[in-house]
Symmetry: C4
Subunit: 369 residues, 4 copies
């Protein structure tokens, strides 16, 4: 709970107008309880890294290309067995119930109706079966925060597989909570339980702080954990939170099927570079051996374009989608995803690129800021 005994999440379900996603944040602030909004929007420490996540885009420019014979750009791409119509998916985020009473089920329905992949967080406030009501059979990946106890981890993977997950995302950058000053100021605790991980918590998750929950999760994440998840699940495994070439190589060496470049939206180690600043060097180290998913700071179609041109294969969207959820439930989620699709198409046309492959072959310009 934050301040009141009852956490009053938004309930409206409606299409929303998205002029840009920065404005969505301002609008979401008005409809969400303060503690929940602070948790979702805030970063760590000075929020240097949070700011850098969006500022970093300006370091690279897209040169317009004007004689490229392009019309109706094609945004479709493929990741593992999934053909998707856009190169972006839903990122794993905890506790969607802070944004809307329909919790993860609302997000799932918006993602499914739009037509891309859902990532389900281990810190979901909804159960798998509740989320499935929204997903309705469409593809999903499962993100895990590991327990200190291997049996619990096996349990959770069993359940995620039974639910139909086609990949496992190991979040490795959050073995304890970043220095989230806003949550401290708001005395923020989760207002509801976390049914997926509650089996290994003392408590359900309800009224627990993030620090407390992380402390009960596994701290000592190592390449062995990647091997375990891969072997036990038989599914492709991503390591999420990669910000250095060395960690990318460690992950691949341990058998990871994908590298997930992310700084957790600037919520973990402040003073780290903007996530986009690390993408190119990681991509060079990965050298095409496994796909790269990128998140942290994507707010516009141009950002998706720049990330793809810098080595990402898939972009994961987080906060903007949750703001859409807050403002319009599953319809708001769909509106946000449609905004990104339209904006990406426009940018692709103006940059003279017909396909995602063209985008990936584009050389960006070093802006002089």
């Amino acid at each position: 709970m934050t301040e009141n005994n009852v956490y009053a999440a938004p309930t409206v379900i409606q299409d929303i107008e998205v002029i840009n996603t920065y404005e969505l944040e301002d609008r979401a602030r008005e409809v969400m309880p303060k503690g929940g909004f602070g948790y979702i929007s805030g970063g760590a420490g000075d929020e240097y890294t949070l700011r850098q996540n969006t500022k970093a885009w300006d370091a690279k420019g897209i040169l317009p290309r004007v004689l490229a014979d392009v019309e109706f750009p094609d945004t479709s791409t493929k990741i593992f067995e999934h053909d998707i119509k856009v190169p972006f998916i839903m990122a794993p985020i905890a506790a969607h119930g802070l944004a809307h009473e329909t919790k993860e089920a609302g997000t799932a329905k918006g993602v499914s109706e739009f037509g891309t992949i859902m990532s389900i967080s281990a810190y979901s406030g909804a159960k798998f079966e509740e989320i499935e009501a929204g997903l309705n059979g469409s593809p999903r990946w499962f993100q895990i925060y590991m327990s200190k106890d291997e049996d619990f981890n096996k349990n959770i993977i069993d359940e995620a597989k039974a639910d139909g997950a086609t990949a496992i995302i190991l979040t490795a950058d959050a073995t304890l909570s970043g220095n989230r000053e806003t949550d401290v100021r708001n005395k923020f605790v989760y207002p509801f339980g976390m049914p997926i991980v509650s089996r290994y918590l003392t408590g359900s998750g309800e009224n627990m702080s993030l620090n407390n929950i992380y402390a009960q999760s596994k701290q000592k994440i190592a390449p062995e954990d990647v091997k375990f998840l891969k072997e036990y699940s038989g599914l492709p495994v991503f390591v999420k939170g990669i910000q250095s070439p060395d960690d990318a190589l460690l992950a691949i060496g341990a058998g990871a099927d994908g590298v997930w470049v992310s700084n957790h939206g600037g919520r973990q180690l402040d003073g780290a570079p903007g996530s986009f600043e690390t993408l190119e060097m990681i991509s060079k180290a990965v050298a095409g051996r496994v796909p790269i998913v990128f998140d942290s700071g994507v707010r516009r179609g141009e950002h998706i374009f720049k990330a793809l041109a810098s080595g990402a294969d898939i972009i994961a969207l987080g906060r903007p989608v949750l703001y859409g959820l807050a403002l319009g439930g599953w319809k708001g989620v769909r509106s946000v995803l449609e905004y990104f699709e339209n904006d990406l198409k426009r940018v692709m046309q103006l940059a003279g690129t017909q396909t995602i492959e063209d985008v990936k072959n584009t050389t960006l310009f070093d802006n002089h800021n």
Copy 2:
């Protein structure tokens, strides 16, 4: 229309005092309807590129030269068959009627009275004969947005030639509308028709959004279009919207007689560099084979100087002239052009340059900002 049924464009005709052209923007904001002002002044997306268009000038400094034996600098130059008294001309801009009830005819008269070249936009709100009333025989170039239908394009070129155009400007960077958030917020639609292109529109242009109009124009611009325009018109053809050396080379390869460096005033692809940031590299690629026209961000005589010293042959002025139109009709246009002439002369004197050739041979200083 924007908000009212009647778009109340300014009507005053008077000489105006120009202290600087940034102030003109503020003054124009006060006299123009909000939707029209937003359309003319706004940029795309975050307006990063719009801001960069003016900020980029600060990256290069002009070193004063003080023993150069200069007096009464000579600003005259030549482009194709035209001897002009200054190295700047009017840029093509759509819908001057947003700024003044005299529409393009007002601008044309100001340009003609001052004594330089007018560019007529295909999205003009006035007909060729109305504009000729202002131009009164003085030189003009015609800017085309192509139709998807070749016959319409031939029609339009025929008409432009009959009107006396001495060059064709192919705007290639606007095959669809940039992400102009201000227009979306203002629900901006053109309050009047576009007689030159209405032949290929469903509708006259009146009450149509920019997105709608662009969608009915040709998206697939390619080197073939340059060839077609050149062959059919028999006139010199510029490709406008060049921001990369590669496109400059493509344009020249397709027979273009001039390269027009522009990012459409920051209104198309946001996240692109400032137009001036791209000039030097394009100029090196062009290597003097064809003349270079430069626009986007020119607000002072120093900017004209810096663009010439970086490879431009002719500078095209857009928004500041329309603000002059809004504030004083054709006399306001003339006042703005006189301001630029006087300011350029002052800068040339203080930089120790007697002629435009001297300016072009000047080496700029890399400012440390």
Copy 3:
């Protein structure tokens, strides 16, 4: 005295909540008399160097490391004969009585209860025996401002040794007062005496300006002084205020046992770089021959991490601790030191470092700001 005849220093003793140490400064401003707060918080001249001391951290980033198999990082380290649980100590600062009525004794008790090394300033407002009441036998170093008279210097060293000092810190960067405009505006004079150095002052220190006190101290600091202090005291000697490789080499050449990188918190020579900007080049010059202490601008655990990774062995904390003293007496001091310990542990975990040695072996990332 500042404005009143009686300087009303804070008196409250309590644990304080530390969300971050920048906020402590704001809170301390509210409880401290203006003159005393201005003296402690202010810098020299334009305060360029003061600002740069904190801004400089952003030039280097810490790359999160996520597969490093780390849990419960160990912050302990060793300096000379002292095993300390954290790599930071209390910096020497004059006149703690400006922050709290318990003066240096309050700070000493907080430092001792927390468990690290206290630096006692020659400009202390408390006597050695009063400070010992707080220190209660725990380790301390003594910082000296030299007298022009060698006998006084011998006296002071004798007394410091009798008090149990295990090292001498020669502050060499303050042979006269920096240009502290805030103190001039506040007409700031010390509201109480300085018992340790009053033997060589005309006056006790009370009602004397910093300029006056410095003027009565020794200006001509040279390598000979290092030799003298080392020989006479028989203790390890640090030279404090080193900002150039040349001075580091001079100090080592004169027998210094440690180099103390500091720009006096931006209070002496304005226009100097941020202290952190000088650390790496000095560390390279020192090349491990003697330990390096670093101060000026440390406000977060990340800063401690970055300084260690750039060549520092020990970090000294100044202003934040005095703000803790102002807000909570010795308990406030302890709260601040605990904050730094916790924050450093969190950063070490997220950066994948188990020990201080690991931190020192970390390569920082060049941020693109």
Copy 4:
């Protein structure tokens, strides 16, 4: 006149407290008529160059030196036949009467009482004999704006020599007025005559704009003019307004005895770099053959230090001295000069430099801003 028929210049004569010279500008704004203050404080165009004049200092840092065995630094130096106690002099500025009713005589008395060299501007509002009343025999240099007519120039030089000038300063960067927008807004004209140059003006200077006065002066400044001044006067000649190595070499080639690096306080060619940014490259080109005087942007002792360390031999102070004149007449002038002397001494001590020669041999640090 500006707004009223009578220009009410300040009249107070008093010592003033100088905390820093930026504050003097704010205080002068309050006591001076708006037009006069705008003329003295304003720059050209966007005031980019004006701002850069002070911002540029931050690009270079002074590394404190702390074991240099320095005490009571010696600021004395020599230029031509003059031994002066400080390395700074009064810069030539027009129309001191805008700041104080005692006009140039007030400044002269303050400069003389302090003990350095006065520069007398050809656009002085006082006659030579009136200025001599303040100078009282102390040294002076004469700055000339040349007439188009050689006879007038000879006249003026004769008069300056008769007055005792020991050098001629040819201001070469102001053959017409920079784009001073503040003066245009204020409709500023000089409220009184210019007795030294009125012989070649149509009018006395009173109620004339700067543009008008410059237009009646010589535009075509060339190396021949340097030769003429040197031969006719028999005095050392400085060329003032040098901002490029090429002009420095032209000046020396024409026989100049000194190079005066200046951008006219940012009042002439906007978009030029900050004056300090050009100093080092000019100094390298001059290579010690003639002395270098530096002005534009000097507001602190650190700035004097940095200019000397970058190749200047003498610093000229302008606006801050006139603000002192406005606030305290000749006593205010003296207060400002004393401030600079004291501040320079402090900086020299903290930087470990005993003499001006030591300062000139200092290597500055490239700040990372």
